[in-house]
Amino acid sequence: MITTIISVVAYVVLAPLVGGLLAGLDRIVSARMQGRVGPPLLQPFYDVFKLREKEDITVNNVQDFYVTCFFFFVVVTGAFFFAGGDLLLVIFTLTLASVFLIVAAFSSNSPYSQIGAERELLQMMAYEPMVLLTAIGFYMTEGSFKVKDIISGGAMDFLPLVGVFFGFIFILTLKFRKSPFDLSMSHHAHQELVKGLVTEFSGKTMALIEVAHWYENIFLLGFVFLFFANGTIWGAVIGVVVCLLAYFLEVFIDNNFARMKWQVAINSAWLVALILGVINLFIVYLI
């Protein structure tokens, strides 16, 4: 019980710090890949604090509510995860959070954010099967949906679930909203949808979304960690190293691809889920 509380508190406190630092590293690495120096490491924090200093404006009186709910449920999702809770519960809560964000964008009735919202929805549809299959894969190898049991389980799930692992890494690109699948909103410069999903959010609301993304990223990396955790210190070390590798692989992909069409996003994500996910699960079932 105590360890659960400690890990939840640690997540709530540390996730934004680590997430922000990772975002800062992301920007530096991206800059270096482009032959630039790039911003200071703490730049993402400066951005968020800056946004908090801005004037309070909004386009209607309900938008902030939805965004706050998005933030709240993203944190709750991660809290469930780090409390060792049920993986499906975690995924469903994350869906709830995403829906709040999408509804927030819809509520503005602005063309840019609405198209962004629809694209975000498409991305959600694209990655959801693979995320669910990942959870089910853990269940089939460990016999439990509980994160607690999966972490303490003796075997390293990466081996039987190698297909699922790569499938999950694939959809991480969608989840991190990185090129080639940064359809709904882009971190870089401006795009044809202005800022897509987040066009109408400004100031503190926008800061909240940024921090929520940090939380989300950390918790998604937690998923990656699960593949390697086997209850020993070595499993944990490998897990953390692979998490970092996965994160910077996404940064690498981000800088090497132009954006692709939405058709590619959904076709490839579903194909990956079918081939890597379903077939892997079928093999696990047979063994």
Partner: protein, 643 residues
């Protein structure tokens, strides 16, 4: 037993009274009173048998059997007659085959089979009775205001409302009978009445389209009825029983032994639950007035089909072909209907496809036939009944007030009819979002699918729920959109409509909060009774508590923070050319251009026709193979027995 009789006979009496009462006020009073009594009756029934968990009633009465037979014959003659009159010979043909077949069976073999108990009540029937009694009668109350408007819109036509309400109440009576009959011949009788009632309700407007669709529904359900009759015949001749309870006991004890009759009865359930390839009748039923759709989709008709399959679950399962057939049909239907819903913009059609998809999920759960799967299936029935009726009634109200049932025309409903939009949003959230109803059961069914080891079904539910989230969220977004300058027009809505929708909203939320109790006091004892042993729930207790806490948290958040902001409200960004009203931008020709936002339907991916063709051909093949195998093994048993 008295309560059961009351619940069957009272709506029948009310129905006949409503047939002769022509005055609006009197009808209103009668319907409201009857609805109250029926709802109270069904609650009383649940309370009465709650302690002992159910009971079987002997009640053998030859006269009742003969009366039923005569009514059945009359109905068959009527069907044959209208079938010929409208040149729908298939309907006549089915009626000509099945009714004489069954009457012959009853008079010969059936006469000698000892029926231990004709009626029964168990926890599943209680749940069904509550759904029928509360939601069904709420829909009848809603229909009062709705049909008044409807008559107003179609003022040139004859007022056939007495007939409409007559059929509605007959429907309720038949449903009560259906869920409490243990004698399959009785159940068949009520089954056929529901088929015929839905025929009348769908064809209510008497337009050409309505008549055609009504006949389609009738023909498909008669085909199911034929399957039912064949199932009864096989049971009678081969197993020497016509009792549901006996059949299920055998099925539980010896897995697969009841596969052959179960397959035929499940086939009847599949037609009634509008599974592919029979989904077109439910879509066609959309031509009827909205209360009809709500009734067919939530508490009656299709629920009779899934009730049958859930009831038969112990006889199905991974181990036999009947189970495999049922779960494959359900799974494919769930996936294809979820996809097809994406391409629709007509609200009622989205709801129809979502119903078909959810029924598919329930049918799959029944087909898997484990305790966990059935738990999920029953939960789906409960949540679906409440939420879907709410959504249908909301769409009906929206249609009468904005003049369209197209989701794209519901722009700014949040401003135009704030209360209605809120109700729709609650309903939609209830259909797919954690922590609300349907998601809980979807979660449980996912666990059950994984446990069954059917990886194909696991894949289907993963992809299907992704599609489900897509089409619901885009509708939710449409509802949530705050469009500037919307004029509030919701004062025209009838009081009855608000009352019914409000009650359903309360029920939706109450069901989310009370479901752990429903689970531990109703479902678990029922499952333990049927499957034996200690049934483990599909969801662990702490997860259920977490869900309930989340519901409370979401509600509190909404109550305290929704719609409150101290921030300055500014216009939206329209590339710097906003005309200031958020509705138009300054166009290139120095003229204002209206902003119009539309949803994404992905026609090329999820076109309705494509999905139907794929779904129907796969399911039809599965059903033909499944039933073919059953007939084959039946022949083997019979000839083997003879040799």
């Amino acid at each position: 037993m008295g309560t059961i009789f009351f619940l069957i006979l009272f709506p029948l009496v009310v129905a006949f009274v409503l047939l002769v009462v022509k005055a609006d006020a009197a009808r209103g009073a009668i319907v409201k009173f009857a609805a109250l009594v029926i709802a109270a009756g069904s609650i009383f029934l649940a309370v009465q048998y709650f302690q002992n968990g159910g009971q079987y009633f002997d009640f053998s009465n030859e006269t009742v059997n003969y009366v039923m037979m005569v009514i059945e014959a009359c109905l068959a003659i009527y069907i044959i007659y209208t079938g010929i009159k409208h040149k729908k010979y298939l309907a006549s043909l089915f009626a000509i085959i099945q009714t004489p077949l069954l009457i012959w069976f009853e008079l010969t073999k059936g006469h000698h089979i000892q029926v231990g108990s004709n009626l029964y009540i168990d926890r599943l029937s209680m749940i069904m009775a509550l759904i029928i009694g509360i939601i069904g009668s709420l829909i009848c109350v809603y229909a009062l205001g709705y049909m008044k408007d409807f008559q107003h819109h179609h003022s040139g036509e004859k007022d056939r409302r007495p007939w409409f309400f007559f059929v509605m109440f007959v429907f309720l009576a038949a449903m009560f009978g259906l869920v409490t009959s243990n004698n399959l011949i009785w159940m068949y009788f009520f089954w056929e009445i529901t088929s015929l009632s839905s025929f009348f309700l769908i064809g209510y407007t008497k337009t050409k389209e309505a008549t055609n669709n009504a006949f389609r529904a009738l023909i498909m359900n008669l085909l199911g009825g034929l399957g039912f009759a064949v199932g009864i015949l096989i049971l009678g001749f081969v197993y020497d029983t016509i009792e549901l309870s006996t059949m299920i006991t055998y099925g539980t004890m010896y897995q697969g032994i009841m596969a052959i009759p179960a397959a035929f009865l499940a086939f009847a359930g599949i037609t009634k639950a509008a599974q592919m390839p029979f989904n077109s009748w439910l879509l066609g039923a959309m031509v009827a007035p909205t209360p009809t759709s709500a009734l067919l989709h939530s508490s009656t008709m299709v629920k009779a089909g899934v009730f049958m399959i859930i009831k038969l679950a112990p006889c199905l399962g991974m181990g036999n072909f009947a189970g495999l057939m049922v779960m494959t049909v359900g799974g494919v239907t769930f996936l294809m209907a979820s996809f097809a819903a994406i391409s629709q913009s007509n609200a009622k059609k989205v709801l129809a496809y979502s119903t078909i998809a959810n029924l598919g999920l329930i049918v799959t759960c029944g087909g898997i036939g484990t305790a966990g799967a059935v738990w999920a299936g029953i939960m789906l029935i409960i949540f679906h009944a409440i939420t879907k009726s709410l959504l249908f009634l909301c769409v009906g109200t929206a249609e009468h007030n904005i003049g369209s049932r197209d989701i794209e025309d519901m722009d700014g409903l949040f401003g135009r009819m704030p209360r209605l939009a809120t109700f729709v949003m609650i309903g939609i959230a209830g259909m797919f979002l954690a922590p609300f109803g349907m998601l809980i059961s979807k979660w449980a069914s996912m666990t059950a699918f994984v446990d069954s080891g059917n990886i194909l079904l696991v894949a289907i539910i993963c992809f299907g729920s992704a599609a489900t989230a897509f089409y619901w969220t885009k509708w939710l977004g449409k509802m949530a959109a705050v469009v500037a300058g919307a004029e509030n027009i919701q004062q025209n809505v009838h009081k009855e409509e608000w009352f019914v929708q409000g009650t359903l909203v309360v029920l939706t939320i109450a069901a989310c909060l009370a479901f752990p109790l429903v689970s531990s006091y109703m479902l678990v004892p029922y499952l333990e009774g049927v499957f034996g042993g200690l049934s483990s729930m599909a969801l662990s207790a702490d997860n259920m508590i977490i869900m309930c806490v989340m519901v409370v948290v979401v509600l509190l958040l909404i109550l305290f923070f929704f719609g409150k902001t101290k921030k300055r409200i500014v216009p939206i960004y329209l590339a710097g050319a906003n005309e200031g009203d958020d509705l138009r931008f300054h166009g290139a020709m120095e003229k204002p251009v209206s902003v119009s936002l539309r949803n994404w339907h992905m026609e090329s991916y999820f076109g309705e026709k494509k999905m139907n063709v794929i779904g129907c051909s796969v399911t039809a093949a599965v059903i033909i193979i499944g039933l073919g195998l059953m007939i084959g093994s039946l022949v083997t048993i019979l000839t083997g027995g003879a040799a």
